[in-house]
């Protein structure tokens, strides 16, 4: 599917989706409640077939927290980026896609561990690298690094 058709497809699925200026990928910001619906649709549709999640990460954008998904289709070779912005810093959450892409299982646990974003219905939402009773989320910009390990 060419890029223009792909853009149209996403916008018909979610009219609120915002196209981003990105030279490398087609990139959309999707509202968190509609996100899972879009991915389910693009994965199962015959003409898009996004079957390969090659990167999933989180970013602290200062005001919002953001989850970034890089998806690709091994059949057609096209790629797309979805971003979900979460304004609630106390209790951010987004629906999991670990049942659609098994690779997301570990990626989502990593994002939860380092940025504190919860993935609903994940099934095993534990920290993956840090200790269970670690306080705070290190990749957040307002994280206070008491032992100053980064600047040592």
């Amino acid at each position: 599917m060419d890029i223009e058709k792909l853009k149209e497809r996403v916008i018909t699925l979610v009219p609120e989706a915002q196209l981003e200026d990105n030279k490398q990928f087609v990139s959309f910001v999707i509202p968190s409640d509609k996100f899972r619906l879009v991915v389910e649709n693009l994965k199962s549709s015959e003409d898009t077939a996004f079957d390969y999640l090659f990167c999933l990460t989180g970013v602290d954008m200062g005001k919002d927290l953001m989850v970034v998904y890089h998806l690709s289709s091994t059949k057609y070779g096209h790629e797309i980026v979805f971003k979900v912005k979460l304004s609630d810093r106390e209790n951010p959450s987004v629906d999991t896609i670990s049942d659609l892409y098994r690779a997301a299982d570990f990626y989502e646990r990593e994002v939860y561990d380092l940025l504190g974003i919860k993935f609903n219905n994940h099934g095993d939402m534990r920290r993956i690298f840090l200790d269970e009773n670690w306080k705070g989320y290190p990749l957040r910009k307002d994280y206070i690094d008491e032992i100053n390990i980064v600047e040592l």
Partner: protein, 375 residues
């Protein structure tokens, strides 16, 4: 008459129990802890516990400049140190639209392929040892030493080189570099036949690897298993073919694919890749053009605000670097999508219902490097 006393036959253990494999275990190849749930000796579940060597490289990157970050990437997948460096260098060069000299591209491609060979050599060595063949370990390390010697001459480092800089290389190659690399290839072409003789055709090895840890192509894609492990399942994922960088669109090489998806297939992919890597080096080594070893770079490197994604094919699979820049000399956010972390995710799935001894073989065939998982 003496009465015969029948001792009661012990009941077959049906309860499940846990065994901790690691964090200090020779076959986890580093500090990885696997909590294995067993019934008898059948594996029911494997829960990896990571983080023993988590250094927070992504957080450190937010305080470091781009040339400094290159030194951190060495320490992720230390067996593909050159290739990790390459990913960050390409990211910076593509963002600033710098064209590196041809000479640099040649040297980088050769170095990357040397890294792939020595990584597969060490994997072969330790994989043989996991299966109980100690000779493999000595053969593998003996041959790997030759590559480390070549690197030491040029880069000064045997293990962590940090040889690439944004725009080029740290310094030029040693005058003997070409001669030594050619001598190595001649030597290793002979020695790799011993590898096949000692392990590939070995009956015990084949019994232990055929149909062990099967992974279908669909599952490989779904679990994002890249590199030789994915290609053993027929998942065409070689970044060098799909998103060529350096000279990979100019040299002739095959993407090795096997479709069986078992441990033997993953093994054979790596064995064939060593031949392909030597083939690539042979095409380039005599033709390194004269010229500068680095492009002209500004003293302070600042990427324009925006986001960048760069991927390279490391010895373990697809290494992705995702960078968000706000225009400063340090990145706003740097994410490394490392192949070992994704590949670890499938271990539980493919080792279920196999014996615990097979878990060691399956884990070995995925070729995990623990600092690459933990970062």
């Amino acid at each position: 008459m003496k009465e015969v006393i029948h001792t009661p036959v012990p009941k077959v253990e049906e309860e499940e129990y846990h065994i901790n494999m690691g964090p200090q275990h020779p076959s986890t190849h580093g500090v990885l802890r696997l909590v294995v749930t067993l019934q008898g000796e059948i594996v029911k579940k494997v829960q990896p516990h990571c983080g023993y060597i988590h250094r927070g490289i992504e957080k450190m990157c937010e305080k470091d400049t781009y040339p400094q970050i290159i030194h951190l990437t060495d320490r992720m997948d230390y067996l593909s140190a050159h290739i990790n460096n390459h990913a960050v260098c390409l990211l910076v060069e593509n963002a600033l639209q710098i064209e590196v000299p041809e000479r640099v591209k040649y040297i980088r491609t050769i170095m990357d392929e040397l890294a792939r060979i020595q990584s597969h050599q060490l994997w072969w060595a330790s994989f043989g040892m996991d299966l109980g063949g100690l000779t493999c370990f000595f053969y593998g390390l003996r041959d790997r030493e030759k590559i480390l010697d070549i690197w030491e001459e040029t880069t000064g480092g045997r293990f962590l080189q940090s040889y690439y800089t944004p725009g080029g290389l740290m310094w030029d190659i040693h005058p003997d570099f070409q001669k030594n690399v050619k001598a190595f290839i001649k030597y290793f072409r002979k020695k790799i036949r011993d590898y096949d003789r000692i392990l590939s055709g070995n009956v015990i090895f084949r019994e232990r690897s055929i149909n062990v840890g099967p992974l279908s192509k669909e599952d490989a894609i779904n679990y994002a298993i890249t590199g030789p492990s994915g290609r053993g399942s027929g998942f065409s994922c070689d970044v060098r073919k799909h998103h060529p960088y350096a000279l990979y669109d100019k040299v002739d090489f095959k993407e090795i694919l096997y479709h069986e998806g078992d441990t033997l297939a993953r093994y054979l992919v790596r064995m064939d890749e060593m031949h392909e890597s030597m083939h690539i080096i042979e095409q380039l080594i005599d033709n390194i053009p004269e010229g500068d070893y680095t492009a002209k770079m500004k003293a302070v490197i600042k990427l324009p605000a925006g986001e960048y994604y760069q991927r390279v094919e490391s010895a373990r699979g697809e290494l992705g670097v995702y960078c968000i820049s706000d225009g400063n000399k340090t990145p706003y956010r740097m994410k490394f999508r490392t192949p070992s972390f994704s590949n670890l995710g499938v271990l539980d799935y493919i080792s279920r219902e196999f014996k615990i001894a097979d878990l060691v073989v399956i884990g070995g065939s995925l070729d995990l490097v623990i600092p690459d998982i933990d970062r």
